[in-house]
Chain length 216, copies 2
DNA sequence: CATCCGCTTGACCGTTTGGTCAAAACAGAC
DNA sequence: GTCTGTTTTGACCAAACGGTCAAGCGGATG
């Protein structure tokens, strides 16, 4: 992942202090706005106001709405996939998956907007990260699927299709971020209480881990 | 659910043949467009064109974009929840849940746009169906949670929080509709093959049902 | 043929919004 | 203070879009 000199839109010029803080403020504001309103629903004006500057000023730092979106999406993606990449073939399968699921749930709790941003992009057909999904992500998933298949072969996991197991983990963990409004509506005031996230984690871990633990 | 005479926006006037077909065409087109583009992203023009009529003509049948959205959302919701309401307390728990999950997966496969429409609405904060979630849906879920808790009490299911089990089933089944683009990107050409949906169903059922089957 | 009424449409309007631009404000170097 | 490059902004533009309206169309009824 070395940054070649022809890396698009990234001149060697070092960012000034003021540029750095402003770009950061914009990206943070953009994450919130894009997550809640989607790409089409978000307006540059709203992002600018939330970032504490005027619209033309924002466009001085990013040349278009799409450019902001792309940047914040890319930045989010690597954070998002980091714990997945860390699944360790030499570790204990159940423990490895427990760690991964726990990490993912914690991320959904701490930064639900990142999850919503991603969900929005996918639901709308992944116009921006479609290529990434078909190349980098696919490669990564294929690799981890092999690991899971190996674990199954060793008898350390019940026989289960690795891809669908991965999808299931993604679905379940992200659900708590993407559908938080529905969850809050259904369980009422309980959702705010401090223990709720732990309770969710315990339930999810119980079902999935029991579901894939080898039985004899 | 009897339709009172003061039922909003629903006069007693019977719909003519042409009205019926046109309204149906509009709602079908609207489902597609809203699911892919979201509420803000969808345009009346696109819906009208897809329904085979002009924009003013569409607005002759529905008084606003929001009215179409509301209608198609409501219509979708009842279909969507029907199999959930049919969970039978007197049946065998594992078989009941198998039936429910299978039905839900089939719906996601047959009508992914309905799922995407719903997902979009929730992610954006459920501005239209927020009240419904907090009243009707909550009541229904509370009721079914009691059923699951009863099953657990009878020793017919492993001890598991009913709400989180329900969320997990929703998350997993809807994932195959909402995130189909990502799934297709990751598994490649396999996703198109006829057996893929069955394979997914088998994996999901295996994990969840093994996860909640009583162990001793 | 004339009338009526449900259906359809082209033309139009006001608002929102992404994006531009030229000029002003500012900051630092000398 | 002056000069130079960076940052900020008010004013503006063109396109897209939701929605309106008055006029046209067409088939059933008399």
């Amino acid at each position: 992942m070395s940054r070649s000199k022809s890396d698009e839109a990234q001149q060697a010029k070092p960012l000034s202090r003021i540029q750095e803080t402003n770009r950061k403020a914009i990206l943070e504001a953009a994450l919130d706005v894009f997550a809640i309103s989607g790409f089409r629903g978000a307006t540059i004006d709203e992002i600018a106001t939330k970032a504490g500057m005027s619209k033309p000023n924002l466009l001085y730092y990013f040349k278009s709405k799409r450019a902001i979106y792309q940047q914040v999406l890319e930045q989010t993606l690597s954070d998002w996939l980091a714990p997945f990449a860390e699944l360790d073939p030499t570790g204990d399968p159940v423990e490895e998956l427990r760690r991964y699921i726990t990490a993912k749930l914690k991320m959904s709790e701490k930064n639900p907007n990142a999850s919503k941003l991603f969900a929005n992009e996918i639901i709308h057909g992944a116009p921006v990260i479609g290529d990434f999904l078909k190349t980098s992500l696919k490669t990564l998933v294929d690799e981890k699927a092999k690991v899971i298949r190996y674990w199954v072969g060793e008898g350390k996991l019940a026989p289960v299709d690795p891809y669908h197991l991965i999808f299931m983990i993604w679905a379940t963990t992200q659900h708590y971020a993407d559908f938080d409004v529905q969850i809050r509506a259904v369980v009422g005031s309980q959702a705010g209480r401090p223990g709720f996230a732990d309770q969710a984690a315990q339930a999810v871990l119980t079902i999935i881990l029991n579901g894939i633990r080898p039985r004899q």
